[in-house]
């Protein structure tokens, strides 16, 4: 007899906080993920060197801006 699957609900962050001052983290995350990030005239420098994820599994922070 087949058993019912266990249902798990997961919420992902809303796109934009109602408070402009608090848009930073969430919107930053969403814009970078979905938007036209690749055609910024600048580019995402986190992945230049070192590589994307360090030996601890953390996102690399990239070089210091100049």
């Amino acid at each position: 007899m087949a058993t019912a699957a266990r249902t798990v609900y997961i919420g992902v962050p809303k796109k934009v906080s109602d408070d402009l001052k608090h848009m930073n983290r969430v919107t930053e995350q969403v814009l970078g993920k979905l938007g036209c990030g690749g055609c910024h005239s600048g580019f995402d420098l986190r992945f230049i060197d070192p590589f994307i994820i360090n030996e601890k599994g953390e996102l690399a922070s990239g070089p210091t801006a100049g």
Partner: protein
């Protein structure tokens, strides 16, 4: 070329978090420049403006400018009708008094005649034919926009080519051919000089100063022997000194804009940025105060038209994404040390977009299989599929590719399915329902600690992502 444009002052490119910079940190900003494509979402074949974010941007009290990053005018692949239409809409929405685009190209034709994305803004062919072609594209785009149009002076990591026009003469030829304004990106021109191209002063002697409506400044960093136009933080002091020297000589400049990518904001020293913005405001007050009336130096406008703009575009575009090309031009370009840098940058941009969306999937592969494996996976994927402009599109395709590889990792399929569903929810709203053998919460919890998930309970799960 004098246009009746308003003086807007000193501004920044719109980046998420700018509200905090302006309100909490008190950055004295008069104008915000918007790259409209960053406010669109890709849904199938359509671009859909994100009205929620556009509403927030519109609510900022500063005047707005619109600076395109998806319809550059340095190539021959026609602009996408949707993009042009939405570009014009953005200008109207934000009531921008003028608009600008890059004097670069980002698409090319493959050997099969099908256009592909080059994944990066690349320099056009600097010959008279190249200038004429760019002028046609600029005129075409400008004719569709409701406000005056300016071309932005580009960064060019390539070595100067024998017989090509000088950088300044090329910009002059395009701007005069299109009868448009110039967005003088001082950081680009400065980077070009540092990287062995024309000096800034020679460049400025060759462009018509009365056509410069806007100035861009930015930060960058050194990589592989090149100063990169990375928009990676505060400006080098030398660039500010250059701006102080140049802006007084520009009779019609109406805005000075500081550019920075969102990823640089968290590590930017706001005190330094504020001081630099205040310096820009001082420089702004000197605009047009030392205009030199001088004959234009146009001696460098001759060129050797040994290749066509189309051949240049298609060859450099192909090389930038790692395709093999056999031709004399390809051989010449391949010998330029900038070509591997273009490839690296395209690679990094693509990998960055994927890792942003599939952070835990990437982390799992990194931890369980190692860096070389993940690099190899990206290498293989990038070799098969040309770049997409949008991170969501790139990630959609990558998800299908990873599934097809049938990598023997116990939780990989579930993790990828979860992250893919979460991405779709962020993109489209609503709810995604997937079936997995593991609870993604447990997988993410382990990976957040830098641990490969082990001993995670197996069952039939229905995951509702909303």
């Amino acid at each position: 070329m004098t246009m009746p444009l308003p003086d807007l002052g000193v501004g920044v490119v719109y980046i998420p978090g700018i509200g905090k910079l302006l309100e909490d940190d008190g950055l004295p900003i008069d104008v915000i420049e918007i790259e409209p494509q960053t406010l669109w979402r890709r849904r199938g074949e359509r671009y859909v403006p994100d009205d929620e974010i556009i509403g927030h941007v519109s609510a900022l009290p500063q005047r707005k400018l619109v600076h395109g990053v998806g319809c550059p005018v340095g190539g021959s692949v026609g602009h996408e009708e949707q993009q042009v239409s939405l570009f014009a809409d953005a200008i109207r929405t934000f009531d921008a008094p003028w608009a600008s685009e890059h004097l670069s190209f980002n698409r090319a034709f493959g050997e099969d005649g099908v256009p592909f994305n080059a994944g990066f803004l690349l320099p056009p062919l600097q010959t008279r034919a190249g200038a004429a072609a760019a002028a046609v594209m600029a005129r075409s785009l400008a004719s569709r926009l409701p406000v005056p149009f300016a071309v932005e002076t580009g960064v060019n990591y390539l070595r100067p080519r024998p017989g090509e026009m000088s950088d300044g003469a090329f910009v002059r030829a395009v701007a005069e051919g299109a009868d448009c304004g110039i967005l003088l990106d001082l950081h680009n021109v400065w980077a070009n000089e540092r990287n062995g191209r024309q000096t800034v002063r020679e460049f400025l002697d060759e462009i018509p100063p009365d056509r410069v409506w806007e100035v861009h400044v930015a930060g960058g960093f050194e990589y592989a022997g090149y100063w990169l136009d990375a928009h990676s933080g505060v400006m080098p002091e030398a660039l500010l000194e250059l701006a102080a020297e140049v802006v007084p000589k520009l009779p019609n400049v109406h805005a000075i804009i500081f550019e920075m990518v969102p990823q640089a904001l968290p590590r930017t020293d706001v005190a330094i940025l504020r001081r630099q913005v205040e310096t820009l405001r001082t420089i702004w007050t000197t605009r047009g105060t030392r205009v030199e009336r001088r004959p234009a130096n146009v001696e460098a406008s001759a060129s050797t038209d040994d290749v066509s703009p189309r051949e240049w575009q298609d060859t450099l575009g192909a090389l930038a994404i790692g395709r093999q090309v056999s031709s004399a031009l390809a051989d010449t370009l391949s010998a330029d040390p900038a070509v591997p840098v273009f490839r690296k940058l395209v690679w990094q941009v693509r990998a960055g977009m994927i890792v942003d969306n599939f952070t835990f999937t990437s982390r799992l592969l990194m931890l369980s299989r190692g860096e070389e494996f993940l690099r190899g996976l990206f290498d293989d994927f990038f070799a098969r599929v040309p770049p997409e402009f949008f991170g969501s599109s790139e990630s959609d395709t990558f998800a299908g590719y990873v599934r097809d590889q049938q990598i023997d990792e116990p939780v990989l399929a579930d993790l990828l399915a979860y992250e893919h569903a979460a991405m779709r929810v962020q993109l489209e709203g609503g709810t995604q329902v997937i079936r997995t053998r593991h609870d993604p919460n447990a997988l993410v919890a382990a990976l957040s600690e830098g641990q490969i998930p082990a001993g995670v309970e197996e069952d039939d799960f229905e995951i509702v992502v909303s």
